[in-house]
Amino acid sequence: MSIEIDSVSKNFGPFPALRDVSLTVPSGELVALLGPSGSGKTTLLRIIAGLEKPDSGNVIFNGEQTTTRHVRERQVGFVFQHYALFRHMTIFDNIAFGLQVKPRKGRPSKAAIHARVHELLQLVQLNNFAGRYPAQLSGGQRQRVALARALAVEPQVLLLDEPFGALDAQVRIELRRWLRQLHDEIHVTSVLVTHDQEEALEVADQVIVMNEGRIEQGGTPEEVYDRPANPFVYNFLGNVNLFRGRIEKGKARIGTISLDLPEYRGASDSPAVAYVRPHDIEIGLSRQHPEEIEALIRRIQEAGAVAHLELERRDTGEPIDAELTRERCRQLQLREGNQVFVKPRNMRVFIDTDYEI
């Protein structure tokens, strides 16, 4: 089932949570709403579910007006960040709840409910937990039960509100992969809210980056990561190095580096900022090119599989963050205090509009 959000706005008192947001979720896709706190992503999710009403705009399911339909009639499944399992019911009763409260006519028989619950327990790999209570389960197990409960009523749309936010890092990664596999099997239209860009990029078919109630950019994970539309998106999706310069009529001059940028052909002389990812900083021990920037290694931090380097530019004293594989770092025999020559690859240039990070 496809979802269409048409010019939805929502205010909480004086606070504008959503400003004229429009978006389409094609049927069967997993879309991630990614953004910092206060960006409006959870509000949008709850409006889709029917737990909040928009001040203006429309919510359309499969071409049908759904804006005023009551939450219990929308056939959506909702997974909460803190599970919201019914604490005084067993796992079995939790999962069976949606089926047990169906009106007499549509309600499956006890045997059918029993079979379906066990089918779902099998799916989430919690077969022997039917008789336990939520308090006896770990966070990851509870979230799997919550997912099973949401899927029990065969929803047309699955909505997940930061489902892995309350879990440890390892469990988060495992469950995220498992969710993606599940989606590949079941193909139910899903919307996932998260502030974790890694999660969004790994799991989603489409990533919608939100900020302050607006959509900054929507696209495939590759699109938003490699071709961010503006500084906010660039910065939110990973670490960033800034290089300042100027741009005029399609030609950018960033320090000693010149770039041809046809998209800025019509620009009059303006200050510009080039964004470069830490792993796009090439490091060499001797100068290979006049455009390279001389820098001093202030600190090397080997965290896990990656070596993080804090560099300081010789000319301006500004910091540069670089990332290398540990192997490469050892190959070059880099030490703190070394002088190196730095060349940024893959620069993304934006006109500087005083954007504050």
């Binding site: 737990l51 499944g77 909702f78 909460f80 803190h82 919201a84 019914f86 409260v101």
Partner: protein, 291 residues
């Protein structure tokens, strides 16, 4: 030079010494509390039972089974039977509305719920006299239709409902607020109706808090003196509750009978305390479960 390792025993002793008051001070504090409780609680209770049984069990039973005393007991039970369920329904509804919804006037409602606590019981009774008494706002209308509220059973029930108003609500509101509304939202999304959600999700979660509130409500309903005294009219055998009957007997110098009837209330107090402790223990267990 490496510091000497500390054994577990030493560490425990240090912890003990540094984190608690020194023993003499602890014992002094406990002794103070016990003396206080003894003087203001145990002694009076002991006095009630001793005085009640002073003249023997026959006199005790005769005092309780005397017609006026029986009437007082019946009236007290009737009052409790009406006011406790009423306040139960009201308390649950108010707590439900306050904890799960946002609406204008919410803080006003909270203040109103606390009103009976801040008003003197005598004034609480006086309110009803001013409303329904012969010179009151509705007085003439009631007299014309031959309805008696003041100096009759309805007035007593009304006054009791007013003073026991807050107990259930005040117990449930923080409980339901701390439980949040996510479980209810989950139930709604799964297709449950409002009523189903209430009975299958909300109610089981608040049952111990509810019981606690009901116990307190009942204890106050049966023991209320001030407000009921104002509206009652003290008509023997008709508009006296147990507390009022005790007062009458005492004023007639019928001490044995007075204490005998009073011992019923003392018994109620002890039973209430016992049930309350049990429920508190269950409440603690329940919140301990919820990690």
């Amino acid at each position: 030079m490496k510091p000497l390792p500390i054994t577990k025993k030493t560490a425990d002793n240090i912890k003990q010494r540094e984190l608690t008051e020194p023993a003499p001070i602890r014992w002094l504090l406990i002794a103070t509390v016990l003396v206080f409780l003894g003087f203001f609680l145990f002694l009076p209770l002991a006095a009630v039972f001793t005085q009640a049984l002073e003249k023997g069990t026959t006199v005790y039973l005769a005092a309780i089974l005397q017609p006026d005393a029986l009437a007082a007991i019946r009236l007290t039970l009737l009052t409790a039977t009406v006011s406790v369920p009423l306040n139960l329904v009201f308390g649950v509804s108010a707590a439900w509305a306050i904890a799960k919804f946002e609406f204008p006037g919410k803080s006003l409602l909270l203040t109103l719920i606390d009103l009976p606590f801040s008003v003197s019981p005598v004034i609480s009774g006086l309110i009803y006299v001013l409303l329904f008494g012969l010179q009151g706002w509705f007085g003439p209308w009631l007299a014309a239709h031959n309805h008696k509220i003041i100096f009759a059973v309805p007035g007593i029930v009304l006054a009791t409902v007013f003073v026991t108003f807050p107990f259930v609500a005040r117990e449930l509101i923080p409980l339901m607020q701390s439980q949040g509304k996510e479980e209810e939202e989950a139930a709604l999304v799964l297709g449950a109706s409002g009523l189903t959600t209430f009975f299958r999700v909300t109610l089981p979660n608040i049952k111990w808090g509810l019981l606690y509130g009901v116990i307190l409500c009942n204890a106050r309903a049966m023991g209320e003196f001030g407000a009921v005294s104002v509206v009652s009219g003290h008509i023997r055998g008709a508009t006296n509750t147990i507390p009022l009957q005790v007062e009458i007997l005492y004023n007639e110098y019928n001490y044995a009978a007075a204490f005998a009837v009073a011992s019923l209330l003392a018994l109620l107090a002890l039973v209430t305390l016992a049930v309350k402790s049990f429920v508190e223990w269950r409440l603690q267990e329940q919140s301990g479960d919820q990690v």
